[in-house]
């Protein structure tokens, strides 16, 4: 055992005690020395105010007692706020699972409302259907526990030289941490400190900060000797952020909501500005560790990196290169950011990203039924993914890159995310890929859809913001050209031909449209594609004045979906044109039937605009499996 450090030590030992009073469990600080003393009950320091939050600590084995901090300390709410914005890389101590669970349970007992604040992403993700109260609490606990457990392997290397760490993980935090900050030293009792332990100590330090034990309570009284540790090197914060990102990339399991995915999802705006540049520098170093000059996007600007920062990045790049090929890292990173937006739904940021030439500027405009709902800054995760895949060796020839663009463009069509830059970036790499050409065609067809047209007519944009879209006719023209190119690359695609025919019809080229649609009909057995093809053939035959053929096609469509509204409307309108009012009304009978006499209408026509995105989940899963190793790259 080494000598006591000269500086004051704030030492905390935690154990969970079953709450025996309405005030909840308590943490009492004590200064006992030695293992035996640790097992003795500790003196408790109680705070005066019962209504105010307060915390005391008790030393003890296998238990954590948590109590709210008192008013003399920083209010719990302030810490909660800090906790919200802090990254969590997880802390696992020896014997961690029990301790982690105990910490979580203790938090729940004292202030269940605080637990969701540890899991902000779950709280924010309404799509995860996180209900209030118990379910939020439960989810928060699971999240917290998952994070703690996820870091377990990092701490596994912490071993005592001569002492065996106690099962409940009694730990000591030395002076040097600030509330809400990262501890400089986090020492498992009896264990030697490693940089990994320091990095992994964040959550515990935050937890400890929540306890808000005042400095006066800290007494360097323990006589348990710990190894003397050298002062930690001062690392620029941005390098820390970069390291955490690298760790997240390596740790994240594609398709999973895990600690790795949460790391980039809670970057602050300033951190985004830094990491955007640093990740590109890092990617360049990963490909060539000797590089000294760097060119950044957007704009192709040159960037000078401080020597100490560059040295740290270079060292990190060498470490990563030793573990995995650079291309694999880029792909894993791309999937990490993809999951942040697709699974965690972190495509918008609040507050807005700073206006800066250093990072891509993107607005996300949400509309519904042609009305603008919101306009917010977009996150940079899609841009991250693209710029990292740009660093892959010959991305145009890389199968992962191909599949990733196919999957993500399909995903965006499924969500009606008309993200032109993303589509165009895919086209830049994969102009000779039939599905990519097809998906671009669908993008422009979507811009010509009435819903998009109505929305673009009603948009209210911030000053100096330009939304690039054409007229209905020009967008249909673009769509036609992309579909034509797709068919040139793959003439067998019935789905492409279906969209091509539809677009030709909307452009008034009814004879060509009818021919293409009949080819599409002949080339598919898919009931959904057949339904659309019949419906569209009917429309083209009607436009050509061939009402009998039109009627036949509409009736075929109706036979595939008897509850569908579109074919009935079409048949009715056809009868009305010929002056047959009775038949027109009869064809509409089911549509007009009062609601208590029929079930809800069901018409695939309403989903035509997202038809091309129906296989997004399958495609995304296949891309994830490529990296997970389930499929050969």
């Amino acid at each position: 055992m080494g000598p006591e450090p000269a500086h004051d030590m704030s030492r905390f030992e935690v154990r969970r005690k079953r709450a025996s009073s309405s005030r909840g469990p308590q943490l009492d600080h004590h200064g006992a020395s030695g293992p035996e003393a640790e097992r003795e009950p500790c003196d408790e320091r109680r705070r005066e105010s019962k209504s105010a939050p307060r915390a005391t600590m008790v030393r003890g084995a296998s238990s954590i007692v948590v109590e709210e901090a008192d008013q003399a300390n920083k209010p719990v709410s302030a810490l909660r706020q800090r906790l919200y914005v802090r990254r969590t890389s997880g802390v696992v101590l020896q014997g961690a699972p029990d301790l982690a669970d105990a910490i979580v349970e203790a938090l729940v007992e004292v202030d269940p409302c605080a637990v969701p604040d540890f899991a902000p992403q779950f709280v924010a993700c309404d799509d995860l259907s996180v209900a209030r109260d118990q379910e939020r609490e439960h989810t928060g606990r699971l999240w917290l526990k998952r994070n703690l457990l996820a870091a377990a392997p990092q701490m596994a290397s912490c071993r005592s030289k001569g002492e065996r760490a106690e099962r409940d993980g009694i730990h000591e935090v030395r002076d040097g941490w600030d509330i809400g900050g990262v501890p400089r030293k986090l020492v498992p009792r009896g264990a030697s400190m490693t940089s990994t332990a320091v990095a992994a100590g964040t959550l515990l330090s935050l937890f400890v900060a929540l306890l808000q034990v005042p400095p006066s309570m800290t007494q360097p009284q323990t006589q348990t000797l710990l190894p003397t540790l050298p002062p930690a090197p001062i690392v620029p914060h941005r390098v820390t952020v970069l390291r955490e990102w690298v760790a997240a990339v390596q740790r994240h399991v594609p398709g999973e909501v895990d600690a790795g995915a949460l790391v980039p999802s809670i970057w602050t705006a300033d951190e985004v500005v830094d990491i955007w540049t640093d990740a590109q520098v890092f990617a360049a170093l990963l490909n060539d560790p000797t590089k000294n000059r760097f060119v950044m996007q957007p704009g192709g600007r040159n960037v000078n990196v401080r020597p100490d920062t560059l040295a740290a990045m270079r060292e990190l790049a060498l470490v990563v290169r030793a573990r995995m090929p650079p291309d694999l890292f880029f792909k894993r990173a791309a999937l990490l950011h993809t999951d942040v937006v697709t699974i965690l739904q972190r495509d918008e940021v609040t507050p807005s990203m700073p206006a800066s030439m250093l990072i891509p500027q993107r607005l996300v405009i949400r509309t519904e039924d042609g009305q603008q709902l919101s306009i917010q800054s977009g996150s940079v995760h899609w841009e991250f993914a693209r710029v990292l895949l740009d660093a892959v060796f010959q991305p145009s020839r890389d199968e992962f890159v191909r599949r990733w663009y196919r999957a993500t463009l399909t995903h965006k069509l499924a969500k009606e995310e008309l993200d032109t830059p993303h589509f165009e970036h895919g086209l830049r790499h994969l102009a000779n890929d039939a599905p990519i050409q097809f998906l671009l065609g669908c993008l422009h067809e979507a811009f010509a859809d009435p819903r998009a047209l109505a929305a673009t007519r009603n948009l209210s944009l911030p000053p100096r913001t330009i939304l690039a879209f054409g007229s209905e006719e020009s967008e249909l023209g673009e769509a036609r050209d992309f579909f034509r190119r797709a068919l040139a690359l793959d003439p067998t695609s019935a789905e492409t031909r279906l969209h091509y025919g539809r677009v030709l019809g909307r452009l008034g080229r009814h004879k060509e449209a009818a021919a293409e649609l009949r080819l599409a009909l002949a080339g598919t057995r898919d009931p959904l594609l057949t339904y659309f093809a019949q419906l569209f053939v009917g429309a083209e035959e009607e436009a050509l004045g061939r009402h009998s053929e039109a009627r036949t096609a509409y009736e075929e469509a109706l036979s595939l979906h008897p509850r569908a509204q579109a074919p009935r409307l079409a048949l009715s309108q056809l009868a009305h044109r010929s002056g047959d009012r009775a038949s027109a009304r009869a064809a509409l009978a089911r549509v007009l039937q009062p609601p208590d006499k029929r079930s809800e209408n069901d018409d695939p026509w309403w989903e035509y605009r997202t038809l091309a995105g129906r296989n997004a989940a399958i495609l995304m899963g296949a891309v994830q499996r490529l990296v997970r190793g389930d499929e050969p790259p």
């Binding site: 519904e368 409307l569 009062p594 609601p595 209408n601």
Partner: protein
């Protein structure tokens, strides 16, 4: 005598359909042979009353026609309410819409009938033509806005319902947006309006350039009211109904003109200066 109320105009598509008429009421020629027109005659903005068949001059594709019958206030109305219940029609807006619709129902006369059709992306007839306004009110109260706006499809359904009966029908359309979900094209539905005898009044609340409703109401001799807010929707609805009640129903059997195709109409009042509002023509066939 019904005095038109001042204020904002609410455009309703008025679908005139025949109600059960007493024996002494003039009967119409069959739909195939006769053309019926709803005509509003005003002089300095005030409705002109007391006109007879001999007071009207009707030109069909420039060929003078003989007016068989003129009716005023004698034929009960069949009013089809066509209401937008897409996701944007919520809160205060929905409340105003219900209130305005109830006002219309409250202004109906004993033999008047009404039907309710709603549309989001789904078009649904919530109540068939009935004199039981309480039933229609109950369906109004049960409206749950959700989904997109199939204005074009809904309007076609309203025209079809209105066109299904003889008599005087009004199609009153309310929408707060542009079409985002219909299968039918605007051209097809406007042509359906031209082929029918429906008069369409429409209220567009907040939509920029509601060209479809503008063209349809013009084609049917009705009126489009564009409002920014639905606060005065009740007054607008009632004003449209009042305007329609001031219309004459003219009937004539076309002669000297080809049957199929577009028929341009001109209607004048003989011997006096008056403004005549009616549909600009009608379409037979495609």
């Amino acid at each position: 005598m019904i005095t038109p109320r001042p204020g904002a105009a609410v455009v309703f598509a008025v679908l005139v359909s025949a109600a059960t008429v007493p024996a002494q009421t003039p009967t119409f020629s069959s739909r195939v042979e006769a053309v019926r027109l709803d005509v509003l005659v005003t002089d300095n903005g005030q409705p002109v009353r007391g006109l007879a068949a001999a007071d009207f001059e009707v030109l069909d594709n420039g060929v003078p026609q003989s007016v068989d019958f003129v009716s005023f206030e004698q034929i009960p109305l069949n009013i089809v309410l066509l209401l937008d219940v897409s996701s944007s029609v919520v809160g205060e807006r929905l409340g105003h819409l219900r209130e305005a619709s109830r006002a219309i129902l409250g202004a109906l006369k004993k033999d008047d009938q009404t039907a309710l059709i709603t549309f989001s992306e789904i078009v649904m007839q919530d109540a068939e033509l009935t004199t039981d306004t309480k039933r229609v009110v109950a369906m109004l109260d049960a409206i749950l806005p959700t989904g997109d706006t199939a204005l074009t499809d809904g309007t076609y359904a309203g025209i079809t319902v209105a066109d299904s009966s003889n008599g005087r029908g009004v199609l009153m359309v309310f929408s707060d947006g542009l079409d985002t979900a219909s299968w039918l094209t605007e051209r097809a539905v406007i042509d359906a309006g031209r082929r029918s005898e429906v008069v369409v009044y429409a209220v567009s609340a907040g939509a920029k350039n509601p060209s479809f409703l503008r063209e349809l109401t013009t084609a049917t001799g009705g009126r489009l009211y564009e409002v920014e807010s639905t606060r005065n929707l009740r007054a607008v609805f009632l004003a449209a109904l009042e305007e329609f009640r001031q219309r004459y129903l003219l009937s004539y059997t076309p002669s000297g003109v080809a049957r199929s195709g577009w028929h341009k109409l001109e209607v004048r009042v003989k011997g006096r200066r008056a403004t005549v509002k009616t549909r600009p023509g009608y379409l037979v066939g495609s």
